[in-house]
Amino acid sequence: MTGAALEARIAEWRGYVDRARAIDTAEAEELESHLRERIDELRDAGLDDDEAFLVAVGRLGAIDAISREFARTNSARLWKQLVAGAEPVERTRGSGIVSALLIGVVAAAVLQLIRLLSIGTLADDPTTTLFGRPADPTWLLRNAGLIPVAAVAAWLLVRRRPGLPIVLATVVPFVLVALAINLMPLAAPDAAGGLLSQSLLLTALHAPIACWLLVGLAYTATGWRSTARRMDLVRFTGEGFVYYVLIALGGQLLFALTAAILAPLARDAVAPLAEWGLLSLAVIAFPFAAWLVELKQSVIENIAPVLARTFTPLFAIVTVAGAAVYLALGATQPFNRELMIVFDAILVLALGLLLYNLSARSEGRATRFFDIAGLIGVIGALGLDAFVLADLVGRIGEYGWTPNRVAATGLNLLLFAVLAVAAVLSALHLAGRRPIAALERWLMGTLPAYSLWAAFVALVLPPLFGFV
């Protein structure tokens, strides 16, 4: 019925559609089916093959425009849409590498200064004073996590210029958090170099997570309420994390080689090289990774969702097997904070897999498989957690609350609540009762809760417990 020449032209057109990366295979097939239907109609009306093909393609419209429209319906695809450079987006301010490196260098310099002040006071003379106040050997610990986060936020603000209200809403709370953390009378390590205070470690660990909320504000800017923009923030965070880990691995390898080269000649140079070079580069790598994510988002397939898909089925197996073991053997052990942290980690992992599966979702048979595997993983993790949590929390009553126990238990409860609702929404989606958008809205809506909890642990818990 259809001539070979026409088939060849349709195949050529289809090849062009397939290259538009925002249009997936099923959608391309649907468009082709439409094209064929239109061609048939036109030929019935008396046009020859060539004319019918040209008119039908014309009626369908420019593939670039359709591709952009598809990308807009699914912002996941916006991330890999602009390969052909159909639409120059925000190319006005260069790539941002200069500002990223500059901010990185400044951040590294600040950290080195703090390191010199705190190490100096710790090693030489614990009674050193600075500007008339006793110097504090815990400065490095207090600020080490905060400075890289500040660098990323600063770079985003410089790059995006979101307008004064957003800049102030980012910078002012950041400065307040930094002041609070540095002025809090958290106990230094005791004279014998013994244990650090719980509160100091908790604050140091949680402050960067709390401040990630402000990075999120700098990233989403005026769109901070929008679910789609928050999803972009999740992608940005995941990709940035992957890039950073890769850079860190490469950096350590390079440093090990450098140390091996230097060792025979100048053994003394290795330690300062680590303290000055490696530490500085570790800080500079933060805004650099952020720059890489922004640069590459349109060029390559995102890595975090690929990892999430790889590990989702394995995670489902692990949690279900773990829950089975606990059910069979029973879980009666003394309260153990390490165990609580392990379960926190399992729930964080479950949440991460859920988020990154969602962040690059497209309809299809494989997607359903991963949705089901993800749901099993989440249910397994929740079951495992519920089993242990009840036991552990019951025992905390006997042993009393400490900042560490509050922090670990609170995080566990928060993650449990978010994941439990997410599991219900995911099951309803699989049953065809709720759209996937409901799950997305829930997970994005609860996104600030993690940072707010971290802020509570970093800033409110220490005074509540008398800075122990």
Partner: protein, 118 residues
């Protein structure tokens, strides 16, 4: 008369929901129905329908499944969901309010606004 493209974009969602409210259908037939109902005055490039269908599907207003046409061609059929019907009712009352407002103005003001009828 050609209808302005912003206006076409605004009516696209209620139009598609209302057509699917009549029964399940597929892309090509939806466009044919739009042309038939509007006498050819309301048209957009064919391809733009599909991103819209997918957006409505992602919002849970439509469901989609692959089927086969009588001639054996693969087609994707769309059907409206309960949420889609609720959205359609909502859109319908909004559009009714808009057209009613304009109607009142234009009926009272006579045929030409330049005459300053009021």
């Amino acid at each position: 008369m050609r209808i302005d493209k912003d206006l076409v974009a605004a009516v696209a969602t209620p139009l598609v929901l209302a057509i699917l409210g009549e029964g399940r259908s597929y892309g090509y037939a939806i466009l044919a129905r739009v042309r038939e109902l509007s006498g050819g005055e309301l048209e957009w490039s064919d391809g733009m329908l599909y991103p819209l269908l997918h957006r409505l599907q992602a919002l849970g207003l439509l469901t989609a499944e692959w089927g086969t046409s009588p001639e054996g061609r693969r087609r994707k059929y769309y059907a409206i969901t309960e949420a889609g019907r609720r959205e359609l009712a909502e859109q319908r009352s909004q559009w009714a309010a808009v057209t009613q407002t304009l109607d009142r103005l234009w009926e009272r003001g006579g045929s030409s606004p330049l005459l300053g009828g009021a």
